[in-house]
Amino acid sequence: MIPPAFEYYAPHSVDEAVALLRRFNGEAKVLAGGHSLIPLMKLRLAEPAALIDINRIPNLSFIQEEGTHLRIGATTRTNDLLDSELLRRSYPILPDAAQEIADPLVRNLGTVGGNVCHGDPGNDLPACMLALGAELVTVGPKGSRTLPVSDFYKDTFVTALDPTELLVEVRVPKARARQGSAYQKIEKRVGDFAIAGAAANLLLDASGRVETAGIALTGVGPTAILASAASGALVGQSPDDQHLGHAATLAGTAADPNSDLRGPAEYKRAMASVLTRRALDRALARARGGG
């Protein structure tokens, strides 16, 4: 299985990459990890005129806290999320998700940027970023812009990213004390796309009530789904069995799954609830200082 021919560019700066994207005006694809793109090209389901390999652009791979945010560079590898002490300590939802993505070999090349902006509802990081309330920093011909990830996913493989724009960075509000996050997913077999996945992010106030919450779902709709009603129902409440259960039920309502090889829609919807509850329980334990 052989990809069709294309032109290849390996720019050394973001500006150079954007100039190329502009030149090809939608006919070029960005090559980051390549683990979604190259198989699509081998199947000849994607036939871009050019590939713009951003892996040689310096300073696009980093995980660091700065000011009010955690910043993750677009070409940061999935395994870097798993290996980061900072993330394990303060943003455990990201290592949770990284562990679920494909397999360790794919994760050595697969990137955060690619996973976030490919627009595949089966990818794991979009739900995490939605739950964390992340922002995406892009650079295009008109300069840089920052957009909330909640405005990013339009439809399956359709995002707010312009074809002449490059995603350069994901920004996550800096973790605070009494905050906990977790990701839960079930698959038919490891490495398969999710039957369903759920991301949860909880911040407790000093009294132990929920100050803010983020809940989002993987694989149960045309895009990753932000379950706002579910998270809204938790705010100001005590995170007890009743409220967490109610939020999980609401998350199931937010799901909009199709029936396919991974199960009928009603099953996936139920799993969205079950996994939301499990993610909330885990996030809560972490917010309270546990594992």
Binding site: M1, I2, P4, A5, L43, R44, D103, I186, K188, R189, V190, G191, D192, I195, L261, R262, G263, P264, Y267, A270, M271, V274
Partner: protein, 785 residues
Amino acid sequence: MSAEAPHVKGGLGQSILRKEDARFIRGKGNYVDDIKLPGMLYLDITRSPYAHAKITAIRTEKALKVPGVLAVITGKDLAAANLAWMPTLMSDKQMVLPTDTVMYQAQEVAAVVADSRYAAADGAAAVEVDYEPLPVVTNPFKALEPGAPVIRTDRKEQSNHIWHWETGDKAGTEEAFRSAEVVVGQDLYIPRIHVSSMETCGCIAHMDSVSGRFTIYMTTQAPHAIRTVYALVTGLPEQNIRVVSPDIGGGFGGKVPVYPGYVLASVASIKTGHPVKWVEDRSENLQADSFARDYHIHAEVAARKDGTVTALKVKTLADHGYTDAAANPSKFPAGLFHIITGSYPFAKAFVEVDAAYTNKPPGGIAYRCSFRVTEAVYTIERMMDILAHRLKVDPAELRLKNFIPPDAFPYKSALGWTYDSGNYAGALKKAMEIIDYAGLRREQAEKRRRGELMGIGISSFTEIVGAGPSHTFDILGLKMFDSAEVRIHPTGKVIARFGTKSQGQGHETTYAQILAEELGIPADDIRVEEGDTDTAPYGLGTYASRSTPTAGAAASMAARKIREKAKKIAAHLLEVSPDDIEWKDYAFRVKGVPTKSKTMQDVAFAAYTNHPQGTEAGLEAVDYYDPPNMTYPFGSYICVVDIDKETGQVKVRRFVAVDDCGTIINPMIVDGQIHGGLTMGFAPALLEEIQYDENGNIHGGSFMEYLVPTAVETPHWETAKTVTPSPHHPIGAKGVGESATVGAPPAIANAVVDALQPYGVEHIDIPIHPWKVWQIIHAGAPKTG
């Protein structure tokens, strides 16, 4: 083995390391795609997006303009040479390329030959084909309904019904059911699955136009049969055909058939005079190569109230795709499905099978069993559990009550097989002891009280392997013997060649061990070769666990022929009469004076340097072994599962496999075969299936959807053995490659159904996906505590 006991290095029963590994661990294996010949061209294939359609036009101009593309072959080109269709092994016929109609999605439509792999792929993508879609039938029941669109309009019978086959005592079985105290019945569907060996299929065909020599390097499990088939179909003189089966990256039955790609590469080489390589990719492998299973089974068991089984009745519909291209070595259209009475002494049994055409790829193949045995074992072992459930008796107890007893062998089954040897209760009791069956049942009872779901499943299978005796087994008339040619060199070293072909089973090691045992020559000094029809003796190849029962037996017999001659030479050297010589403790010894002896190496040297006058020089023999009977490996497997009630996910916590394959040649290799077989039994029980929608679109046509188990969900297999030698095999061995694939699925399915007993469930079709379990749990509250 005690240090004192006489033994030969690398003889029977020793876990010696494998000879073949040296090249594999260095990346120096020699698989088809590793071979590069001077001037070699590449072939790629354009395939149909439709499951059933009329081809109204094929335009090749764009493809021919792709730089590097040299030729495009279509069905019309082949028809001109009378090669558009080829015969199947089942007296049906299969398209190499269609002249007018495609009959399944991904069917070959045109072949492109180019000077590079990449150009060939570009050319295949550039072939333009116009289709007129036709009505599609993918369900075999619908295919047999009146008014269903006829798929094979080329046949005289304008129907999708292929054949009906039945065996057993119909009237007697009906009578037994009429008088039965208990009858249980169940529909069972075993879906399409695919062997998906890690290496796909491929070949390099090379017609040397000067010498007339045609050589094909090919991923085949049966090189000699391929040579003869090629000679018969093409008319090429057989001495000019050489089939080489190099290292094979797993076969499991998938490399028995002749696929259109092989024929296309051959045609392309004949036409261009260049070697032509064709290697399919994974999607082609899953979408177009032979499938396995696809049996819709209805089974009924009659029994007495005390649980004694009396009669078995089975009616099956087999989905064969658009042609019956089954790689079936037997005279029976449904293969060895009538081993379905299993480990139990049914007095009466009747089996009938109908086969139907559908708009799916043709097949089938065995997926690691000796053809339709897995279907049979799954059915009977599921039915025994259903009977136990209905009678409210423990499934182990029901089996122990019914097993054919050890003193009943050789045992003639109600459907006509003669089981060679067995001790079924011995294997089950051993498995129960290892896994602590009683303790598990206690744990399960406690868990049920707490509302937790845990299940224990048993499978006590009887296999039938080693095809086979020439009266019943052949491929296109070629009898299913196999062969060994053994030659001892002057320095006492050996080369041995076989008609079989290892695909990972370790023949280079295990055949050497049999010969070491028979000849008293260390296994290290014995070189084993297979797979080149120019050098190896004729044989029918490796599948159906037949290598040890046939070629392994031939190794022993050839060695014993050599011993007969060697004895005369030894007598000459020891200056006694041959009658005074005996072969004992790996040497020729003068009777009563065991210290006066000659080794086989002494004799070998003499055979070339000092052979007795009147005797031929040299020391070699060939044996073509026609087995007197099949062998019947057996075993008992016990599986423990835990079920997540919220998600329906099944986790195999433990799996104990007690196997009996008769005499064990290499315990390490036998365990490896069982580990792999168990995993290929686990896979269809919980993960693997290929589905088609009503338009004939495949689901499961790449590794994105076809879920081969990874190391994470594959259980940590626990193995043990009992040894009940085959009385008719020269060393008592039975074959082991497939037992576990055959035995494992019902153990897992039985465990899951057992876990769900509180919900009153008697059956779940495999693969048991989490959603199927969840639906049962959420359909209603537990029916019993």
